[in-house]
């Protein structure tokens, strides 16, 4: 058995935590971009477009993220794409995030009263101008708290990427445990690190929410 000091454990976990953060950021940015594109698709795509995207959302919300990771990992390989665990995890989490964000944002757009669209239309604004200058500024305000809140889910979701062998915080914890036989200590630190990433975001989401309520009343 190699001798691990507490500092060694922390240092190794810190290294791995960077990958958790990197994967979260990729999932969030990628998922945000795809989610926004889907949102627009839903707005302009007519009935069939909306149904198609609704199905996409249901698919990702109705299956475990773990299965999505497996399918991305083994599915990509099946199509002859040289998969790394990183690529598969990034892809699966991006799609997963896009499905949830597009649904959250759709609700926020629906919360903008119809009269706002009509006023913008009657002023001869084009569809994209209506969206950009009238609807989105109002929807974004409502969307910020739940979006930040969902980022917490994404960060915690990255832990599942450990099962396809991607070395992030959780996987690193398992590996260090196997070397040190100190599971409680190691996973304690792992949990602490997740908490350190998620808690500030939760607080942030709550503050934003309170601000929004204050502005509304």
């Amino acid at each position: 058995m190699i001798d691990f000091t507490v500092w060694d454990i922390v240092r190794n976990l810190l290294d791995a935590a960077q990958w958790t953060i990197a994967l979260s950021i990729v999932a969030f940015l990628g998922g945000g971009t795809v989610g926004f594109a889907l949102l627009i698709g839903r707005l302009v795509g007519g009935r069939s477009g909306a149904a198609l995207i609704g199905g996409y959302v249901q698919l990702f919300q109705g299956t475990p993220l773990l299965m999505q990771l497996f399918l991305a990992y083994f599915g990509l390989a099946m199509f002859g794409i040289d998969t790394s665990a990183w690529l598969a995890a990034a892809l699966a989490l991006t799609l997963y995030t896009s499905a949830f964000l597009t649904e959250i944002w759709r609700g926020c757009i629906a919360a903008v009263p119809r009269g706002q669209w009509e006023a913008a239309q009657s002023l001869a604004l084009s569809f994209s101008e209506q969206l950009r200058y009238v609807i989105l500024p109002q929807a974004i305000e409502v969307a910020t708290p739940p979006t930040v809140g969902f980022l917490v889910q994404v960060i915690k979701g990255t832990a599942l990427a450990s099962v396809i062998g991607f070395i992030e915080l959780t996987k690193a914890g398992t590996m260090i445990t196997n070397a040190t036989y100190q599971p409680f200590l190691v996973y304690g630190f792992v949990a602490l690190f997740y908490f350190a990433m998620c808690f500030p975001l939760s607080v942030c989401a709550r503050i934003l929410e309170r601000k929004l309520h204050a502005a509304r009343h």
């Binding site: 009269g115 009509e118 009657s122 002023l123 001869a124 604004l125 569809f127 500024p137």
Partner: protein, 244 residues
């Protein structure tokens, strides 16, 4: 001179519920028309068809001589530059100041420069009696003030025609007067106005022509004074409260 609005055989249904059953109506430039009728008679639907907020099944609407109402987005955008609309619920953009509410469309659609647009907004706010409210947010304004900003916002596009759908119905009684005075001043200035209203005294004083809608049709129409004093149909008589 072509009419400001020419509506021919307009029919509109929601599902299998026919709401407009063949409307023919020509509005001359500078005319002030009051549309009255019972709830559900199709007044709002008629106004909304004129600026393309509602599509219709058959018939034809020509605005300002050459703008036909159709579903093509570019055509609609052109049309709407000729037709302003003011809503019962004001519909100011809550995230923009009064001034920016007014400037938005001229800047985007008419490509007005920021100084010119701001100058125009100031002038319009002065015209509706709100010279000092340029930087006020909508929620800081009373309902009557918000509606006057909405009027200024519509005027900023320099429309040939203004549609008003019960624009004082959401206001406290003491705020109705200030909005009606603004509308009256527009009428005096020669604006073509098509207004749905429940303010009978106002309609009688300000409008040249009264249109009484009943079950999706123009049931009676004519010079306001004439119709108010001697309505021909039983329905209008009943509507005006002259039973027998």
């Amino acid at each position: 001179m072509p009419p400001a609005i020419e509506i021919t055989a307009l029919r509109k249904s929601f599902g299998d519920h026919e709401v407009l059953k063949g409307i023919d109506l020509a509005v001359q430039k500078g005319e002030v028309i009051a549309i009255v009728g019972k709830s559900g008679s199709g007044k709002s639907t008629l106004l909304r068809c004129i600026n393309g907020l509602e599509s219709f099944q058959s018939g034809r609407i020509v605005v300002d001589g050459d703008q036909t109402v159709e579903s093509d987005p570019t055509a609609l955008r052109n049309l709407r530059q000729h037709v302003g609309m003011i809503f019962q619920s004001f519909n100011l953009f809550p995230h923009l100041t009064a001034g920016r509410n007014i400037m938005l469309a001229p800047r985007l659609v008419k490509k007005k420069g920021p100084e010119l647009a701001a100058e125009q907004a100031h002038a319009l706010l002065t015209r509706v009696g709100l010279a000092d409210k340029f930087d006020a947010m909508p929620h800081q304004l009373s309902g009557g003030q918000q509606q006057r900003v909405a009027i200024a916002r519509a005027l900023a596009m320099e429309p040939a025609i203004l549609l008003c759908d019960e624009i004082t119905s959401a206001l406290d009684p003491e705020l109705v007067g200030e909005v009606l005075r603004v509308v009256e001043s527009l009428a005096v200035d020669g604006m073509t106005l098509l207004m749905v209203t429940h303010e009978m005294a106002f309609a009688r004083r300000v409008s040249n022509r009264l249109i009484f809608m009943h079950q999706g049709r123009v049931h009676e129409s004519g010079p306001s004074e004439e119709l108010f004093t001697s309505p021909k149909t039983v329905e209008l008589r009943q509507f005006l409260g002259m039973v027998n």
